[in-house]
């Protein structure tokens, strides 16, 4: 392999399907894409080769092979902080932004019970925060000691009060799987997430990739980052633009999957009027959330519990029983695809409900406070009202064909809704499922990645 330097073979390994995408960054053009069932159980190379075989001979000329990993079950991170609304929340936000799946979050002093719980969660990694710089050191030192003794060998990114660092280095001495990053919350209400994010990626590549059997790809490909982080990079590039080529401005992206739904935003989200007071942690411009209980196949039972089934049925012009029957059928058989017109409508209506729930949780909200002589508004989280562009990605959305617009309509703010969803967005659909690939390409060829996203995202 490797005769054409402008030819990139981009791969995503670890989820149900191994996806490959061949891009000529010089043209630029997406030349081909293909998928095959992932084979982590035996050797990931088998699935990779199967997909490669479907791409055609040119794929073998690729000068560079970059792979993202949705590492079987995701990158499982446990967040440990001090106060739940402050450093614990900061650690959660950092872990999500790094492409992780937050399997548990702990605050204050870790107890024996917490440690037992942590062990049971089997995290791939622990993000340990606590204390602003110059603030509390006691808790993070205690928690570091507890983790060192209670979960030996589990990788840790320590990103808390810098004044505790010396002590933590002593506690974690001789532990190469422990990394130190700048504090995720150096001051109350100020986040600094990039250093922790970089450490998480580093550990992911060095340790987790091997643990999940993905290192077998190493002889042929560079495994560069977790898939959700690649998507976040793509979305950020699409939002900001590159060089002389403008981006699309503030935007929101939704990836409705079979098991989870990921939401990404690139937006300031500040209050729309000076009369609104912002409360709580300010959130990062590039924000990701993932809803582990909202998905179109494996987790559809949870989705059903949370949405108004009658309303879904009305939207699908079906009965509530038909909606429930469909959910039951696909939960047991994730490969089940809608066949009849009615099934398509039901699938789309459920996806719209899931999209709405996931986007609503991602967005901030507005609360009216009545003071004895007047009304005041308090905002928590990001106001995405002004966001003009919503991008839909992911299997069910792309497969939803002409119904993608109906699904994404769930991301639009309804009149009177307290959650601050986009109020008048336009919708784009990632029908060819390119976002993750463009996030990989963005490291080396940002101009081409931007151009290809602009070309292939279709209005709907």
């Amino acid at each position: 392999m490797g005769s054409s330097p402008s030819l990139y073979l981009l791969g995503d390994v670890g989820s149900t399907f191994t996806k490959l995408c061949l891009v000529d960054a010089g043209a630029p053009a997406v030349l081909a894409s293909a998928a095959a069932p992932t084979t982590v159980g035996t050797d990931v190379n088998a699935g990779f080769d199967a997909a490669l075989g479907r791409l055609g001979p040119r794929a073998r000329e690729a000068g560079r092979i970059l792979v993202s990993s949705s590492a079987a079950g995701g990158l499982r991170i446990a967040a440990v902080g001090l106060v739940p609304e402050l450093t614990m929340k900061a650690a959660r936000i950092a872990a999500l932004g790094a492409g992780g799946k937050v399997v548990g979050a702990f605050s204050f002093r870790l107890t024996a019970q917490d440690l037992a719980g942590l062990r049971e969660l089997r995290p791939d990694m622990i993000l340990l925060a606590g204390g602003t710089d110059g603030g509390d050191t006691e808790h993070i030192i205690h928690n570091a000691g507890a983790l060192a003794a209670g979960l030996p060998g589990v990788p840790v990114v320590a990103a808390g009060n810098r004044e505790a660092r010396e002590e933590l280095e002593r506690i974690f001495a001789g532990r190469p799987e422990v990394r130190f990053a700048a504090n995720v919350m150096p001051e109350v209400r100020r986040l600094d997430l990039d250093p922790a994010r970089a450490c998480i990626r580093e550990l992911f590549l060095e340790r987790i990739v091997a643990a999940k059997g993905l290192d077998r790809l190493r002889s042929r490909a560079e495994v560069v980052r977790p898939t959700p982080e690649a998507v976040l990079r793509a979305v950020a590039l699409l939002s900001r633009g590159h060089g002389g080529s403008p981006g699309l401005g503030e935007l929101l992206a939704v990836d409705v999957g079979g098991a989870t739904t990921d939401v990404y935003s690139c937006a300031e989200g500040r209050p729309s009027s000076p009369a609104v007071v912002l409360r709580g942690l300010p959130e990062p411009f590039e924000k990701r959330t993932v809803e582990a209980d909202i998905g179109m196949r494996h987790t559809i039972a949870h989705l059903l519990e949370q949405c108004d089934v009658e309303e879904v049925a009305r939207a699908a012009r079906a009965t509530a029983d038909e909606v429930r029957a469909w959910a039951g059928a696909v939960a047991g058989d994730p490969g089940h695809l809608p066949a009849s017109e009615r099934e398509h409508r039901i699938d789309a209506a459920l996806a719209a409900a899931g999209c709405r729930l996931a986007v609503a949780r991602h967005c901030g909200w507005l609360e009216e406070c009545y003071t004895p002589e007047g009304r005041v508004y308090v905002q928590e989280g990001k106001d995405l009202g002004p966001v003009r562009c919503v991008v839909g990605s992911g299997g069910p959305l792309a497969a939803g064909g002409p119904r993608a617009g109906e699904v994404l309509a769930g991301a639009r703010r309804a009149p009177g809704e307290s959650r601050l969803l986009p109020s008048a967005p336009e919708f784009l659909i990632d029908r060819r499922y390119l976002l993750w690939a463009m996030g990989l390409l963005a490291d080396h060829e940002p101009a081409a990645a931007l151009e290809l996203m602009k070309r292939h995202l279709e209005p709907c």
Binding site: L82, V83, E85, L86, T87, G130, G131, T132, G134, G135, D136, T137, M185, E187, V188, R189, V277, R279, C369, Y370, T371, P372, V376, V378
Partner: protein, 148 residues
């Protein structure tokens, strides 16, 4: 270890409750900072829990509360108890602003807030300088150095 100057004491500042009077808060922030304190200003409309959360993370020595809109007594109830619950039993608690409502006299108001566990209560005409002088005095009594 080489001797380093003691870091400035940290204090949490904010306007409590649903109170959105923002001007005095900015002035207090500047004045306390000028006087050498590490000021963590939470701004307006701050709930008791937010003061306490910030104090825990920053290991603050004092919480300085303002109330301007006349509902201070209601908003401040239970503040000390909450601090005790959070392990901040000994933190200095100050309150000032417009605490005297209607015809009440300051002595009575002060007694009420003291009974609620506030270490210092500032009446009409008290500006930032009074708060600063008091905080220096109280911290000195506790042996905390002011980094200047």
């Amino acid at each position: 270890m080489s001797p380093s100057p003691a870091p400035p004491p940290t204090m949490i500042l904010g306007v409590i409750g649903a109170d959105c009077h923002a001007v005095g808060n900015k002035i207090l922030e500047l004045a306390f900072r000028e006087a050498g304190f590490n000021v963590v200003n939470l701004g307006v409309m701050v709930a008791q829990e937010e003061f306490i959360a910030a104090a825990i993370e920053t290991k603050a020595q004092a919480i300085v509360v303002s109330s301007l809109y006349g509902h201070g007594e209601m908003d401040c109830r239970g503040f000390r108890e909450r601090c005790v619950e959070a392990g901040l039993g000994r933190i200095l608690l100050y309150v000032g602003g417009n605490l005297v409502v209607g015809k009440a006299d300051f002595a009575g108001v002060e007694a009420k807030f003291r009974a609620m566990g506030f270490d210092r209560v500032f009446g009409p005409g008290s500006g930032p300088e009074h708060g600063i002088a008091a905080l220096r005095e109280d911290l000195a009594a506790r042996g905390a150095a002011l980094g200047q």
